[in-house]
Symmetry: D2
Subunit: 317 residues, 4 copies
């Protein structure tokens, strides 16, 4: 067990929420679709679920937000369960080295996206999950899966349909990416259906508490409450991908500053994993220049400084 | 303390050396300079230095080899000591997303290399270390530093001058990189002198045992034997950079398969760090398609599978 | 008047057709849609319309073929007539320096295609021509325009609907390009409608004789039979664009070898203009490595060698 | 003979010089080396040498300036004379589609520069001309050649040594290009010697009158005064290359606006050829955003508008 006790964590979480609540520099809220643009920049939430089950929350930790690209972690997990390591024939595992919706790399690499956390890669993952079934079915399966991960028996986690529709109206770049990969044969279902699934996944809405709960399997070698979600090996590898590729073209800097596997979304959320120790979710809608939550990133940096949870530090034992 | 005891590690190390000694697929020895091309592909060495000081070696662990790009870890450490975080104004911290000697990225990013582990970045680090002093002085400082890190009182670690000369004769790409960055003002000393330093750093020769010893400060929060080499914060961050950028454009895959911060060289060596647990060096001269030691990578994968040392796994405690 | 008389031209045209008929190396017929793949590689046609109205034909000069990208010359002419030099705010005038369907350049240049003869540029031209009208109307206008240019009173020039449908079924790259430009606001009508127009333009079918007739206005300073199609200034500039950008990423080589403004299509046709002298059409379905008609290019090289019509040579007078 | 008589040309040339002398927008004088930065922006010269030998000059037509990249036309001519079409195995013939000193393209195309008019291509041409001889010899040969072309018996054309030295001091990008191509084996002599030749060629100084005289062979099918400089075929092809690639990444626009083969230099000079009609030189040191002489380009546009000399227009006969 970690040397930093339960009581200290509660205090650290409260301190961080207080500091972030008062921060002047809050970044810029994503404005490409109206439902995201309307979220007040004052919001900040944090939830830490410990390996022993203790939960610490502060700020707006129980308010639902659009998890956006964080959903790519859950869809990747589902796809690995469905088709296993075959997936890696259609998606790479390397950081992209450029902007998250870049189409350039697809041209030189024959329609194989660099990794499952850039848009192109997540669209391929959706194509894999969709297969020959109906979009509604794939979407329902995803919602059920995330609810199960989060222990959300009440079914409060769901799709924000306003967000899903808005994405669909303006998603020309994603349409371009999908058509481009289809030209290389790496999208197989009709493009509109694949994107329908993709936009719905991005529109998943939940709170920090629910998100941190949903991430427990990644801290626990693939298991939640005695039940195996995926193998320990795959959980470890998803963590590795989150470290290498989880923060767009700022992933190296996130590793440098925070040192935990994490995945961010343009809704301002970040899911982070300290293997064996904690599953952490933060949310603040203002983004930094790289498209990651400004205060979310700062909050995680503070948390790691005070707990020593970075995977790159010797553990206190 | 880790649950896997000293005796087990010794056995695991021996098993791995035996397996690697018998492997048929050994990769391709680097051939761009004669002194490297002549190294027999049969070589395999491994050394594991535990946090408690125990050392386990097997195979050709005491034979010196050319550490090549692994030296970039030590030169970065020296440069951070010399100029601190100012260094990051001249070098980035993101994976490059392309081949290790790529000049393309420098064009679009105004002469700022992506990270200190690609050639261009390491050349900037050499320029920083050189400053206004003589190349011989900068080289001597580096040799002293690495000997101190390794506890090499006998002074057996040194520069292989045959390698250094051969690099200089054929290093047109590095000459191109250096001149190109000079055009942007990011190299300040005369190009030939900076490259002289760079080629000598790459020509450092030492054994797996010495290399693993030299890496102890990265496992120990920057300290060796009660003495602080760098701050814990910087040690943590160097580990993060090794994870993100330590294996050229295969870094994502190395994180995925091995899950430890590491740095490879075309001489076939890899230095790996399990924070708080072990400093590990492997060496086998045959390279895989990405330019990393084929058997070295495989050996580390085996080691992690049997010990659970990946930073992405919950630690046994 | 040119020193090479009418009789000599007839002989030269016949000689060329004989040589091309016998050629062994005929290139590779485009196979990305079935209707093109079925065209026999033995076909070769040539038609030369002189400034004085004389017409010389040989080979399969009266057989209709799919003009494909050659239609981009006519749609550009129509669009310049419709919106004038405003067009250049949405399309550039420089050679692309890379493959004809490259999406890379669009990313770095904010959705502005390099020139109106690459696919992306021609799609913008279609968007301009479509405006708010119905696709069927824009297509009918184009057919009328080309018939008028060619003096095709019988209405034999038309759309090959089998080709148009086949393009639509597999045009994922063009769909990607159009969506991508729409993301930058450089496509304004619904993407499917713009592409419907584009694919129909590409599916225009006519013979060498008709194509050479249709090109007369470019040889004659914008005029045909006393009637002005466009201003002399614009005719001159369209010729310049054909010289710089008419042969995909082989345009420099075509200028080097042939030295006439020209535009090729993957159907194997090429329209060429010797200003003040002749309008020339050649057709042979086998393509060279750059996607231009292998024998068509060779035939034009021969024609220029024997007539001295290259714009880069001093004219005999 | 062209319908625009000698008297009219004289008047047109005088008009243009008057207009350019009064122009307010004169562009920006190149400042990367002091000797160029000191040239007064007021300068403007024009010289037109007709096919019949008549010479029309106006403005500062007899003042020497640094021809810079225009020398690439003469060095190409020499190299074709020396090694013939073998040259094209080491240099391409396509426009570069990007900035004139781009190193990116060299990476993807294995050290083969796109054309002989970008820096990398001209450096290869220098390597060809240098061969195993001494740099001084290659430079002397070039000076003799250009004097002969220009009929400069007095030997007033020469190298501006101040310019040559200044280039050498700051030519890090060219040093990078040369080393990079050497890494691919496409530079064979020692890099410093090749660049010594290159920088001296760029430092050739002559007047508009001399430059227009030197360009006569390109208007005359390779001949000057009954003497053959190169074959008609090669003269034609050099003209084609000037059209496709003569104005950096603005070549398409120059063809569109002027419609004559031409080559510009950062000293503000442009050599233009109207095949069979005239050899034209203009000079004004202020450059536009693309690095071509602002008033030089405008002067040529005016000249073509008033004479109809564009190769894309039907000739008046």
């Amino acid at each position: 067990m970690d040397a930093i006790g339960t009581i200290e964590i509660a205090g650290i979480v409260a301190d961080i929420a207080a500091e972030m609540g008062a921060a002047a520099e809050r970044g810029t809220v994503a404005s490409y679709i109206p439902p995201l643009a309307q979220v007040p920049p004052e919001k900040f939430g944090i939830a830490v679920v410990m390996a022993d089950g203790a939960v610490h929350v502060a700020g707006d930790a129980d308010e639902a937000f659009s998890i956006q690209s964080i959903s790519k972690v859950f869809s990747l997990t589902l796809a690995l369960g469905a088709v296993g390591d075959q997936l890696w024939q259609r998606v790479g595992r390397e950081p992209s080295g450029s902007a998250f919706n870049s189409i350039v790399q697809l041209e030189s690499e024959q329609g194989i996206p660099r990794n499952p956390f850039i848009n192109a890669g997540a669209i391929v993952v959706c194509d894999v999950l969709l297969g020959r079934s109906a979009p509604a079915e794939a979407i329902a399966q995803m919602v059920r899966f995330v609810r199960t991960l989060a222990g959300d028996e009440a079914g409060s986690i769901g799709i924000d349909e306003a967000v899903a529709s808005a994405e669909q109206d303006t998603g020309f770049r994603n349409m371009a990416l999908a058509n481009y990969m289809r030209a290389f044969g790496n999208i197989r279902a009709p493009v509109e259906r694949v994107l329908g699934v993709y936009f719905h996944f991005c529109a998943l809405a939940m709170s920090c508490r629910e998100l941190a709960m949903a991430g427990r399997y990644l801290m626990n070698g693939g298991r939640v409450g005695g039940h195996s979600v995926i193998t320990a090996n795959r959980a470890r590898r998803i963590n590795a991908l989150m470290m290498s590729c989880g923060h767009y073209d700022n992933s190296g800097d996130f590793a440098f500053r925070v040192g935990l596997p994490g995945k961010s979304g343009v809704g301002g959320g970040i899911l982070c994993v300290a293997p064996g120790i904690a599953s952490i979710a933060v949310w603040s809608p203002g983004l930094n220049a790289s498209g990651n939550s400004q205060l979310g990133t700062l909050a995680l940096e503070r948390l790691v400084q005070r707990t020593g949870w970075s995977v790159f530090e010797p553990r206190v034992s």
